[in-house]
């Protein structure tokens, strides 16, 4: 680490010599071992490592980002200099000087061989289920460490392990099939990967989806459009929170920076503080949830990641910001600047985003719904680029009749305007769950680990 520290400090010195308002050097090393198993065959396995340096220089309001994995002094001297361009006038929020070293130790050490054994255990279990027509498993174990130093005297050193896995399967009967992708894992060691529990969970999902094919009914478009009460599971709550609220409250999107890529937002400057949901809706983004996939201590700009209340009792409350956008709205950064790799610029990203839970059981939500639909999982989902109009196509879903869960329904899609969706939320469950995911943003596209979740909830549309 001493050598890395010297390289980062030297790079910072070169960046400072450009004479700008701000300079920063960020070194990152990450490595992962991965396995891919398809239809019982170990299709691929490998080890990837990434190690390099990013330097940002802010001069006369223009931000230049430089990156390289050639850390020789000669190369750094050649690369690190300011090239002027006529740009937006950027300033940064004032932040506390940070001096931090944090090493997240796994409770159970992550061992690649143990991961492979776990993957093969899951594979053997799924192979026995004849109704699973296709199956593939990907799993990776890795760790990342970083060092950020800046011209304001901050120094942040971080290290954390992580494990992630994806289970894809297709269940079929006769000529009909349904697919499912499930992701497991988080920040930590083997405490976030239990192959027996994953196998149990995946088997249950596959069984239930087979039951949808076997016993499910199809409803007409007229019947579908007449459904007023919808009970959504934590999985549906989570994806809706992430897509229609979290993204919409990223300040770079609100101010147009992402317009040509990840899009705009129904939240504009005029909508700050406005009503976006019922009084039951309080939505939070919190990087401090232990073992969650979007866990982190400090962001890439050396700002402590903190809990943000994005929506409070139905009112838009707080935007996610980095230092640039915090300065624009006269606040301190929420610590949301993250990059997927040292070579890319940090963007405003969510961490672990969820709807706060209520006190009802699932049975109580179903009973209150009287007649409608319960959606437990989704296949396809999408949303328009202003985050105003989304659809979640039910995978495992059931009709609700007279307050009781009934037969599976094959073809219900919850397709609503965002504000109608959140204003329809009447009751919340006490069963908060979080789900890991990879969130895409920017150009070149950056995939960032996040999690999303919430409790089951009852939506009643007018």
């Amino acid at each position: 680490m001493k050598e890395i520290s010297e390289i980062a400090e030297y790079a910072l010195k070169l960046a400072e010599s450009a004479g700008g308002e701000y300079a920063e050097a960020y070194f990152e090393n990450s490595e992962a071992t991965f396995y891919s198993v398809e239809q019982g065959r170990l299709n691929g396995s490998g080890h990837v490592e990434s190690s390099g340096l990013r330097v940002r220089i802010l001069k006369k309001g223009s931000m230049l980002t430089l990156s390289t994995n050639n850390l020789s002094r000669r190369n750094l001297e050649r690369l690190i200099r300011f090239r002027p361009f006529r740009g937006t006038s950027i300033s940064l929020s004032d932040e506390n000087k940070a001096s931090v070293r944090s090493v997240l130790k796994p409770r159970k050490e992550a061992d690649p061989q143990k991961l492979l054994d776990g993957v093969l255990h899951i594979e053997r279990g799924l192979a026995e289920k004849k109704y699973i027509k296709y199956r593939s498993i990907y799993a990776g174990v890795g760790k990342a460490s970083s060092l950020m130093v800046n011209s304001e005297g901050s120094r942040v050193e971080l290290e954390s392990p992580s494990i992630t896995s994806f289970m894809n399967f297709i269940v079929s009967k006769g000529g009909e099939s349904r697919q499912r992708m499930m992701q497991f894992g988080g920040v930590g060691g083997f405490e976030v990967f239990d192959d027996s529990k994953i196998l149990e969970h995946v088997e249950e999902e596959a069984r239930n989806i087979y039951n949808v094919i076997d016993k499910g009914i199809s409803i007409s478009k007229i019947e579908s459009s007449s459904i007023k009460s919808v009970v959504i599971s934590p999985e549906i709550t989570g994806i809706a929170v992430h897509e229609s609220v979290g993204h919409a409250n990223e300040a770079d999107r609100v101010f147009g920076r992402e317009a040509a890529q990840a899009g705009l937002s129904y939240i504009g400057k005029k909508e700050l503080g406005s009503n976006v949901g019922s009084s039951e809706v309080t939505i939070v983004d919190d990087p401090g949830i232990e073992n969650a996939y979007g866990f982190f201590f400090y962001d890439d700009e050396g700002v402590r990641g903190r809990k943000k209340i994005i929506v409070k009792k139905g009112l838009q409350s707080e935007l996610l910001t980095n230092r640039e956008y915090a300065a624009r709205i006269g606040k301190k950064s929420t610590g949301s600047a993250r990059s997927d790799d040292y070579s890319n610029e940090p963007l405003i990203r969510m961490s672990n985003t969820y709807l706060e839970k209520g006190s009802s059981s699932l049975d109580e939500l179903v009973s209150e719904a009287r007649n409608g639909v319960y959606i437990k999982s989704y296949t396809e989902w999408n949303i328009d680029d202003t985050r105003s109009f989304s659809r979640y196509q039910g995978n495992e879903a059931y009709l609700i009749k007279n307050g009781r869960m009934m037969e599976p329904v094959k073809n219900y899609a919850l397709e609503k305007k965002t504000l109608d969706f959140w204003r329809a939320l009447k009751m919340k469950g006490n069963d908060l769950e979080m789900f890991p995911g990879i969130c895409g943003k920017g150009e070149p596209m950056q995939g960032m680990p996040v999690s999303m979740g919430g409790p089951s909830a009852l939506l009643v549309f007018g």
């Binding site: 398809e38 239809q39 065959r41 170990l42 299709n43 691929g44 396995s45 490998g46 080890h47 990837v48 990434s50 390099g52 223009s62 931000m63 230049l64 980002t65 430089l66 990156s67 390289t68 994995n69 050639n70 090239r83 361009f85 006529r86 740009g87 937006t88 950027i90 690649p112 061989q113 492979l116 093969l120 296709y134 593939s136 894809n168 297709i170 349904r178 697919q179 101010f255 920076r257 317009a259 040509a260 890529q261 899009g263 705009l264 504009g268 070579s343 610029e345 296949t379 396809e380 999408n382 328009d384 680029d385 202003t386 105003s388 109009f389 659809r391 196509q393 895409g440 150009e443 070149p444």
Partner: protein
């Protein structure tokens, strides 16, 4: 240390095969937001890969430095890992050369060496976009991206391949009076794109339709511009890789059968010299080729690397992927054509012109069912004429419609194409590009906000 030396060290360590690819890359990109350059990024680095096999055990690792100590540590790691792996029973080996490659299309010195190029292209394209009278001046967004790559691939199969190439990509979105339009430009050299004209056309398109209206959910004919049509149909190339066929693809079991309208052909082709994805060789050094996946409506070929080709008693299509075959660039042609987009529109009684889509998601990959969300300019067409742009909500630039389709049905209902094929891409296609004309697809399902 060069790739040949690394292969030599690996083979001395007792591996059966080794493939090494080393690249030196320089990327520059900038972001345009609110009609100004928002930030500039300059990335430089070495990247490489080492693929090794031993007794049918296969292992992949990356190489970031080419000094001897780093390379030897990677080979040592590969050796320790590969011995612990179970064999890949259906692995049949890498490509064996020597191969004769076509002449490299080379690189553009201007893209490689002129640091100011990205800023100049950005400024010129912004000027073009706001050049017309009455245009909102502060709502231009986009990216300018350049890349220079010098790479060398060597394998124990007597393969030696080298190439230098450059790429220039531009994306621009403009919002004008609540109407937005987005387009893309791609080239191997700086002369291939006139940034001012590119920006000007984007600006003109935001003014091309007067009037705003709503439509009802139902079935409509869809005219897809090149960017969204290609983004949707380039999925066919991925679905044709043998890995997809093995794990679930709508093309499985349809070899030789009609899967598209009679005049439609889809190729996988990285041999076009004007393509930003042009390469003379694939990831194992096998020569690339133009492969007809669908020819005149019938499914003709799946995509293979050497190992899968042996497994299925086929020929490699030059689509390695070392671990598994990967799709190259999609090229779509149609025998039934009209002169231009205007003539396609004239064929429509009740339909929609779509200029951009995103969030394409498959609800049933095996069947090919998907939905996609149009964004930017979407125009309602009636009796062969543009009537109004569709806006189903209050938010600026919101279209508020969704198309639900089946990818094979879409191909079967592709009645016509325009003579306006261009190389395009989309944010939704995550970097993949394609050669695509505007196309007319009959009778698609549309739902509205």
């Amino acid at each position: 240390m060069d790739a040949e030396k690394i292969v030599s060290i690996a083979m001395k360590e007792g591996f059966d095969e080794a493939v090494v690819n080393i690249s030196e890359a320089s990327e520059k990109y900038l972001k345009i937001a609110n009609s100004k350059i928002d930030s500039v990024v300059d990335k430089r680095g070495i990247s490489g890969s080492l693929f090794i096999t031993k007794k049918n055990r296969v292992f992949f690792t990356n190489i970031e430095k080419v000094d001897e100590a780093h390379v030897k540590s990677k080979i040592k790691l590969a050796k320790s890992m590969v011995e612990r792996l179970p064999p890949k029973e259906d692995y049949y080996g890498i490509a064996y050369g020597p191969f004769k490659y076509g002449k490299s299309s080379g690189y553009d010195k201007e893209i490689k060496e002129r640091e100011e190029l990205v800023s100049e292209f950005a400024e010129s394209s912004i000027e073009g976009a706001i050049s017309q009278k009455g245009t909102e001046r502060s709502k231009v967004y986009g990216t300018v991206y350049t890349e220079y790559i010098k790479s060398e691939l060597v394998s124990s199969g007597n393969v030696h391949a080298r190439e230098d190439r450059t790429v220039l990509r531009m994306s621009m979105r403009q919002i004008n009076g609540g109407t937005s339009f987005q387009d893309f430009a791609l080239s191997r050299d700086a002369k291939g794109i006139d940034p001012y004209e590119f920006g000007k056309r984007v600006g003109e398109m935001t003014k091309s339709v007067s009037g705003v209206g709503r439509i009802k959910s139902g079935n409509y004919d869809i005219v897809y511009a090149q960017s969204p049509g290609g983004a949707l149909l380039s999925n066919i190339n991925t679905m044709a890789t043998i890995g997809s066929i093995e794990t679930g693809s709508p093309l499985k079991g349809r070899m030789g059968k009609a899967v598209a309208a009679a005049g439609v052909s889809i190729y996988d082709d990285r041999t076009r010299r004007d393509s930003v994805e042009h390469s003379e060789y694939d990831d194992e050094g096998h020569p690339t080729q133009k492969t007809g996946i669908i020819v005149n409506g019938k499914l003709r070929s799946y995509l293979h690397n050497t190992s899968t080709a042996i497994k299925y008693m086929a020929e490699s299509t030059g689509n390695a992927g070392l671990v598994e075959p990967s799709a190259g660039q999609m090229v779509l042609t149609h025998k039934k054509r009209r002169k231009d987009l205007e003539e396609l529109i004239r064929e429509v009684k009740r339909g929609i012109l779509i200029t951009n889509t995103w969030y394409t998601r498959f609800s049933d990959y095996l069947a090919g069912n998907f939905s996609t969300v149009p964004r930017d300019l979407a125009v309602y067409i009636e009796d062969g004429e543009r009537k109004f742009q569709i806006r189903q909500g209050d938010a600026e630039s919101m279209v508020g419609i969704r198309i639900s389709e089946n990818i094979l049905r879409m191909l079967q209902n592709m009645e016509l194409a325009a003579d306006d094929t261009k190389q395009s891409t989309s944010w939704d296609s995550e970097g993949a590009s394609y050669f695509m004309p505007s196309v007319l697809v009959r009778d698609s399902q549309v739902s509205t906000a």
